[in-house]
């Protein structure tokens, strides 16, 4: 079964690379869906000793939520917010790709050098999980549109659950369901928030969402200096 795991890991890595260079939102969402489906398949492949009912249910729910429901939600939000493309990202696509490749290399090297996860299902899977997390964080940091950040968060979350799956951790049904439910609601709420942002700001560039802050306030008065005068 290890071979399958390796294949899926590689596939996940590819999704990461694609996601980081994808500029069209619809495209990104589709690839996130693919990532979710791959991730949903992973636990099924890992357990050679047969499927428990509990696990099967979990896998199905996982697949349907991450592979279908969340992308649908995101697409709906995208339509509502009326935005199609990621324009002028903070880090250009080529540079992003190079950075991600470097990060991948570091993750792999790191895991190899420290032999960080001897208990993992496959030696490749843990670094891929890390890479996915890095991808997610990178997308959140380096892309302008709020919706892309939601996508980035999903990727990050995927990376974390992949880590969990590959380390063969079992949290119990309640916890797994709770986590799934949380992620689902989160994306749902994010969708609403996106809609609201679009309505209030007439754009969803999250880098322009910086009216709240302490740096460039209009009335910077010099209180203490004044007080001592």
């Amino acid at each position: 079964m290890n071979a399958f795991v390796e294949i899926i890991s590689v596939a996940l890595l590819i999704t990461d690379l694609v996601l980081v260079i994808s500029g069209r939102l619809l495209h990104s969402i589709r690839w996130v869906a693919i990532q979710g489906i791959l991730l949903g398949l992973l636990p099924l492949l890992l357990h050679e000793s047969g499927f428990g009912v509990q696990m099967l249910i979990l896998a199905v729910i996982n697949l349907s939520v991450k592979g279908i429901l969340l992308p649908l939600l995101l697409i709906r939000a995208m339509r509502k917010a009326d935005v199609r493309r990621e324009l002028e990202p903070f880090v250009g696509y080529t540079a992003s790709l190079i950075l991600l490749l470097a990060a991948t290399a570091i993750c792999f090297g790191f895991c190899r050098y420290w032999n960080i996860a001897p208990g993992a299902a496959s030696p490749a899977s843990v670094p891929v999980a890390f890479t996915t997390m890095v991808t997610g964080l990178f997308i959140i940091i380096a892309r302008r549109k709020a919706i892309t950040q939601a996508i980035g968060f999903l990727i990050f979350e995927n990376g974390i659950s992949m880590f969990g799956i590959c380390m063969m951790l079992e949290h119990g049904l309640m916890v797994e369901l709770g986590i799934l439910l949380d992620v689902f609601v989160l994306v749902f709420v994010m969708g609403i928030a996106l809609f609201n942002i679009n309505r209030e700001f007439s754009h969803i560039d999250s880098d322009k969402l910086n009216s709240l802050g302490d740096w460039d306030l209009p009335a910077q008065n010099h209180k203490d200096g004044e007080a001592e005068q």
Binding site: P118, G119, D207, D214
Partner: protein
Amino acid sequence: MVLFDASLFLLAAGGILALISNRNDRIATICGLTGGLGGTLCGAIGAIRAFLTPEIRTVAEGAVIQQPEMMAAFFLMPVTILGAFAAIHSVGYLKHHGHGRLGIYWFFYNLMIASMILVPLSATPVTFLFCWEIMGLTSFALVAYEYHSRETMKAAWIYLLACHAGIAFLIPMFMIHLGIWQTANATLWLFLTGAIGFGLKAGLPGLHVWLPEAHPAAPAPVSSVMSGAMINLGIFGILTYAVKSNDHFLLYGYFLLICGIIGAFGGAVSAYAQQNLKRLLACSSVENIGIICMGLGFGFLGFGYQNNFMAVCGFTGAFLHILNHAVLKGTLFLAAGEVYRSTGTLNMDLLGGLMKRIPGTGRIFTLAGLSLSGLPPFNAFPGEFAIYLAGFAGLAAKSTLLFVISLAGILGLAVTGGVVCGVFAKAIGGTFLGEPRSSHASEAEKTPVSIFGAMTGLISLAVIMLVATPVMTLLLRKMPEMFLKTAGNEIAQHSNHLAGLMLKLTAASGIVLIFFIMIWLLRYMLLTGKSVEKGPTWDCGYAEPTARMEYTATSFARPLCKDINLLSCFKKHEQKPDGLFPESASVTVTAEDPATAAWWKPLFEFFGKIAEKVHRLQSGSLHWYILMMVIAVLAMLIWGFVFQTDKTAGQKDHGKVSVKKEVVK
């Protein structure tokens, strides 16, 4: 103890009743005054009794307050006595200044007095800190009482900061005091933290910045209590808690003496430069605390160098000066309050001629001012005399260091004395003498009975104290002994000697008084039967000199300020007459506090600049926020795994092996 319990109960009850009846000015005043007076009087009797018959301090288990020992009782006397007179003064003072809020005033006033009584009575550090902070808070509330003006706001803020900074030093001090913090040089640290923490309240030089701010802002009775009694509690704290060990007398002595010299001189000079009457008095408090510290410094040095005469003189001088300063400064602030009440301003350049309009206040202020200048037939002189003697004794000592510091002390005291004469000449002259310089002064209102009564009472107390100086010197004998483990016969002997000198001083005062009466009679006889006329002031030929031609208080002070321009804080801003027909010209002199200018302001600006730099972190950009999180996590990981590896390496291998085992299974 019963007396103190009664006192605290009365104060609390009066305060709370006043607060409850806030809506009715009259009832609030009655409640507050009754509680305040009753409480302070009970406290005063208790304090005097405890001072005269000191008992050995016994602390019951779990007790919060305790019977005061001699030192505590000594410091309780100014608190209670001044508290009583200031309470009486408040009635008249607040008629114009606190409509509808009198209950609040009385509540905080009584609470402040209660907490000030509690501070020397505290049995445990926690109680002490609590009362200390409550004292700060209640007095802060009173400083902020006239909340309308921006100046009051600034003053209240600075005062609050000073109080809090004090606590920030006192908590560590108690940690060292209790031995919870074990450090090398514990005594040194104990003393330094204590001196700074208490010094902030006492107004040691450099830490005094709140005094010239808070005192002008506070209602006069409050400034009177704060200046006369509260800052002394700082000295009390230093003497009770910060000074612990027998063998560090030299450290205490040099520190206090140097602080004292700087404080006395600096305080006098900045007082001389002030335009605001109460600010001038506040700076003068810094100066007097300096003199007190000099006395204490000489005292400790005396012990340190086994020169008991010097020690006795220093300590006695300091303690006498504490009492005299309390009474006199209290009187002066009450009088200044009356000036403010009747004229509506404290700017001496707008006052003048009040001696004719509020003569009682004028006379009392003049008397108290001359006394506080340390001039002989009056009160503050015996204290300074004793301190001079201590300095002379140090001068004649063998140690070169002691010689140098004593010389500096004497010089400091002398020049300070000279400047202080100027300070009070300026205050008296600018406020009460000459012609009124504005309508504020010319339309001054009459003094109500309560205010006049309070001031008269205090000044009579001063007279009694003057006469009683030799007795007090004898009574104060036991105070220096408290710092030595063994009570020496020698100290008593020196003390008797000093009391003899004080008696001679009193006699000299009497002789001067007799001379005065004789010369006055002579003059009276010479003038009887001759023409005594009234005319205009001879102004060298000007027919009608006006008040605008008078020397103002500022111009009076200008020459000396120019000579002694500490850190160039006295700045002259002038608008010169311009053109052929100049329309306006003006000169103003501002006196910035040297300590503020030298380090507080730069320090605060520095913090402000850091704050501005730090504010960039919260730029509003979400991307940056998340990047910051990632960087922080990475930093923690690197710190955890790169810099802390050695300890966990073995563990890690162990873990690796066990995991492998599982895989093998």
